[in-house]
Symmetry: D2
Subunit: 448 residues, 4 copies
């Protein structure tokens, strides 16, 4: 039974097309939908649309649905179209006429906005936590292998001495920078759309600040048309942030695939992470890393899909928005599993110090030789040209000594890992506080 | 049991990540995988690797799997990783050592290439057929409403007299042009990759032309490394073609949404195609058309995803390719369902001739007035300027008379629909012949 | 003369391909390159590589180049390859051996990073200022036409009463939200890469914090490999932010195109903004708005291009990065000109209040009728169904009274524009302070 | 002076925005525009709008403009907006009232369609020719280094013996497959849009078949609305084809970068193709190949930009189309220069046969060992497992002997290069014939 039924039935082919995979996707939204409904009901009570008893009954019924959802027993049916319909139908089945009152002063438009905000808020914190896990693994690796030298490359050619520590530390800092994007994204979407209804508000004196506060939002999303216009927009802001994480993981994966190829051999992957070939018995392939790299393109395509869907739509709700739900949800899940898999593999990577050392050749010290000439008073460009014309004049140095001796900020001898570790700690606290706040609010909403 | 197992087990988190949704997606490939295996076995018999009896037993077992797959009872398990493993394991379970012989001279790399080619070949013909259905509906509409005038627009402003016939005919021709892209795509992918193995051939005297012919391919895909390098590439060629169809449907949907809005009212959608609002009782929304429009962005994102994944990979198989399977499969399905829904809706669109006529105003005849001055000997640019400076001099004409009187090639009075209808007929025959050929080959492969 | 010349010449075809449009694009970087060089020279003096007199001479020569660049007389030649080479060659031409000392302890890799950071920092503030101009225009429009009612739409169908004030206010809030993305983007890129050299630091005791402070950076970008890995990454963060602005302008443009079409007529564009047709004398087309809409796709494609270029590159500098320069620069310019044109047009839009009122029909009040039944005690869903079954029971209301009477947060009667105007003011101050800081630092660098 | 001027002037900021870079881009279209105009004039003469003398004068004036354009002396001014206006203004300046007659029965809409078709037709043949050059270089390389073995890779790990011949041959076949896409693209766009005017035809008895034939088109593009709806669409078909070429070159470049890295050393690039570093004197970087790889993302972004711009536009001309001109033109140029540079570099690549041989290790022969067991009667899967458990049992073989001995279709010992060389030859003939046809038609149009 659709919420909007009024004496006609949909064509079956078309209905199937319209419903799409909403019933499946919306399973993840049931609890959020119910929590939003409890807050909405409490507000309706406050403004006199519901009695205290009405509210109490609705709250209990909604809490029951939350429990069923958590137990996996509440299934959204195809006929229900979406989570909002499934919940309203369940309430009417249980509470009769009272169930028909809950939709007062709202639309599925602001309901789905709300559900996706609450859902995304949770996911963003979970992902930030996973990013911090990856940073931690990278920092620990950087500390442990701080002074294992490897040839630094530019243009995939040998350039200058580098180290495994510098390499891993670079990615820790990149991921930590991403967390600032996460924080702003969180701040941005943490606005309550409830009460915007179908974009044009309602002719009732609803109290939007009240529901916003009950649901732990930073603020009400003020303009009711903007609330609907931000559908899709906020999704693209989120996906832009996820893309940054995936691109970092992709670059890291590319590096590891290269560093663990037989011609390099700096790293080796434990075989439990390597799939084999059906034909070639000797193969142990870095499949999970190749998949992370590919999935960075996938999450990028979710961003593009969402950007394109909304790019030139007129104001107000358009059904096109429905097609932005899957890329958002799969974006979260893909980024999460990629981070999980990355951290797991990276924490067990084996380093081959001998192979790293064996990879050094004299050319890697050419620039250091130029700079030693500079210290003796030759101008840089002259020194450069001399060394360029007589490459054989550059002799092999001790790589370990070389990387230890470079001690300016951020160089191989001065990685600044403590700074990153401190930042990890602070961000964990920030996440934890937000999670506790929401937990407390949820407890008030569902408690007796 | 993995095909490549050799004394170690995969980490569970990583295994789940690597397997992904292959077991679900590969369900669609079971029959193709078995047909390819029958052809491969027949070739192995021909070159003396299998006996006639071996071949017979394998063929029968494979035919049984095909039947189970068609009955929906053959399920690929998570532990099986993919369809190739599931089938080999099933054969070994049934035939013992004989089952272990089938993988001789091939790799999962050329197997999955083969499966996807056969799968895509079928889908391309099915989609061409659906495109022809849409063309037919458009042509019939164009014939029926050939002389219903509507204001033609440019820049979303009123430009010159047009007609519903011209409008529908334009899309019929566009879709027919797409069919040429389909034909070339079909021709391109209709090359047999079998025998390329892991990209480097095998040290056995296999007969690639023999299997190619058994499977109704146009030709062997010669260079064995190219066979693997074309993974992803052929997918992007296919998706480029699907994108053209979806973009046409998107433009059509945009037009219908506009033409059926209350301010226009040229068309109206039967209510069985219109979903309502949970809040606003009067709403009947053109949701399926909005979704087709959005899904054109989705299919576009599948193309971009696939292009990106393969863009800078080194030669040979890389696991990244696995991530191109879903966009291909969902690309086919999305285009198919969009075509189905479009044809269904379009064939029942209601035309409001009075609203169409009422939309005319004198400005639409300004250009015709200029050209009538030209006929009287005034130069075009002078006549243009006169009319531009005195717009009130343009008077209302009879729209129907106007559109009928324009009879040059492709104008409102000379739509050339017969040409399109003839082309539809010819293409149907072409499709039918290819489908019959493959049917006959399949019959030979599976017959006793 | 290339900086790296060492006894061989490049193939001419290849050299042209490699140089590309760098000489043209780099014209915009000359001043930034010289300012960075002055700071670098001052640091080299501090650590004893240059004498005080060396520094003074270099500074003066660099200031002269800045002046020439501002006067448009310093042209980067094709043979110079890029701005860095052009400047070093000019210094050597003027100062002889002293000019050859400046490149000590740096690489073109960190130089171009620095130039692009300084360039982007300036552009981001300029764009934020333009976004605020657009917000201001929107807020003033919203104030002036606060109570001009228009039909609010969903699914391009008529939904509920809305207003021009609500509509314009929605976009003001959306653009203001974008400013938070701008701030974080600014914060992120405001890290000094100088001293990272070719990704692996240098064997000299350089003082990176010193140059960072001279150039008004928030902080040193610590890890030297991360500095290079952030090439492209920071560009994609910037472009993700620009895309949000362009998407808002695109939606706005789509709305204006629709609202000013003859079938709507709520708005009209002064003819000085409308191009005509070469054929149809009556046409006045909303071309600039169509172009803004199209350019939103262009800026989106710059983002995708940049994301894709860097997505799977190995660590360290790769020449692929060069191809991210144009999309960044054109991204800034396209967004800037689109904002300029939008604000100009919007500030002169003409409103047609009579057409707005005339667009109302009774169906727009159906939801209000449902809610009035709710106030009388009928449950929402029952009231909804009653009205749905008897649409003729809904009668026409006074649109102006209706929109004024909706006074909850963010509704048509309570737009909250003061909040937006306050935010505009605060952000102006923030921008101004950053611009003043940089101005002061530049003055110290170039002053005598 | 704009063609559509009618008593008002455009706002200057907006005019600049609208005109954009059309005057620069349109320089490439002058000759095509004039040729189209000659054909159009001839048709106007045929149907009695122009006299024979009118036609003769117009033709001569247009031929003069073509000559000026070829000499580089005809410059489109900013005030002229575009090529069509510049040419009409020049004609009126020279011929007075007669110049004002030429625009009869056409619009800039069909004119620009025509210009871009003629322009694209020429470019497609030029590019096909360049693709054939690249194929030729690849085939000759494959012939010369047919039996130089290299380790074949999958997952960037060592897999089985391969050869430089197999590798180069793979790309020759891939590029040859692309030519089929080129042919269909050519066929598709080779339809004459002239006479479609502003999408709605004209009220004159124009002879569209006549102009189509004069301009060597395969056929008239029939439906006049479809002609305009195909703006952008045909551009995306072209760019889809270019993307295939660029992706092949990108993969090839990635391979060469790897194969010429010091850890591999199979190939080396002559230094005249390698740029150096400003800091590190020893560097010789494969910059042009990195740029080709990056530019494959650029051309991909042109495709995406064009697809997005047109995806959801309503029927008829929209100014958004203007924004598809640059990606098309830059797409052609970028693909052309990438092909040129690739062929040049590849034809001078140096092969290091000793390094190729030195790269072999016993593991590469594991699969061959399995298959030799199969020949002795062991089932494949059993043999596979035995070898997998005892990898040390695999011994080193002679790589050259190995690759020569694999002689099935497309394997290292049977590359099938003759087939590719024959196809190159046939396609050259096809291109040549089309070029000759167009040359002859141009001669008739401009001859006296």
């Amino acid at each position: 039974m659709k919420l909007w039924e009024k004496g006609y039935k949909l064509d079956q082919v078309v209905e199937k097309f319209m419903t799409g995979d909403d019933p499946q996707l919306d399973q993840a939204l049931i609890s959020y939908d119910c929590l939003g409904s409890i807050a909405h009901a409490k507000m309706l009570e406050k403004i006199g649309i519901l009695t205290a008893d009405d509210y109490q009954q609705l709250k209990e019924a909604l809490c029951t649905i939350i429990s069923s959802a958590e137990a996996g027993t509440f299934r959204i049916q195809f006929e229900d179209e979406d989570v909002h319909t499934a919940v309203e139908n369940a309430l009417i089945a249980k509470l009769g006429n009272l169930g028909k009152k809950l939709h007062t002063a709202r639309s599925r438009n602001d309901q789905v906005l709300l559900d996706l905000r609450l859902y995304s808020r949770d996911w963003l914190l979970i992902l930030m936590d996973e990013v911090l896990n990856a940073c931690t693994v990278l920092c620990h690796f950087a500390e442990e292998y701080q002074f294992i030298p490897i040839p630094g490359r530019t243009h995939f050619q040998r350039a200058m001495p580098s180290s495994l520590g510098l390499w891993a530390g670079a990615f820790a800092e990149s991921l930590l920078d991403n967390l600032e994007l996460f924080k702003t994204t969180y701040w941005l979407i943490n606005q309550c759309p409830l009460g915007s209804a179908a974009s044009y508000g309602v002719s009732l004196e609803i109290d939007r600040a009240f529901t916003s506060d009950l649901l732990a939002f930073r603020d009400v999303q003020n303009n009711v048309l903007y609330a609907n216009n931000s559908r899709g927009k906020f999704e693209t802001v989120i996906l832009s942030t996820l893309v940054q994480v995936m691109n970092d993981l992709s670059k890291l994966s590319t590096d590891i695939i290269i560093f663990s190829a037989p011609e390099f051999g700096y790293l080796s992957l434990p075989e439990k992470f390597c799939a084999g070939s059906s034909l070639m018995p000797q193969k142990r392939n870095p499949c999970p890393l190749e998949l992370i790299r590919a999935k960075s393109a996938t999450v990028q395509s979710f961003l593009i899909q969402s950007l394109e869907i909304i790019r030139a739509l007129p104001s107000g709700y358009n059904r096109d928005f429905q097609e932005t739900k899957r890329p958002l949800m799969q974006g979260f899940e893909t980024t999460w599993s990629s981070l999980k898999v990355f951290s797991k593999i990276f924490s067990e990577l084996k380093v081959q110090p001998d192979q790293c050392l064996a990879a050094f050749s004299s050319e890697l010290f050419a620039t250091d030789k130029v700079l030693s000439c500079v210290k003796m008073g030759i101008s840089f460009r002259e020194a450069y040209k001399q060394v360029a014309m007589e490459p054989q004049s550059v002799s092999m140095e001790d790589p370990i000594h070389n990387i230890k001796s470079k001690t300016h900020l951020g160089a191989t001898g001065n990685l600044g890992l403590k700074q990153s570790l401190d930042k990890i700690k602070q961000t964990r606290t920030w996440i934890h506080q937000l999670q506790e706040l929401w937990k407390a609010k949820k407890h008030s909403l569902t408690g007796s």
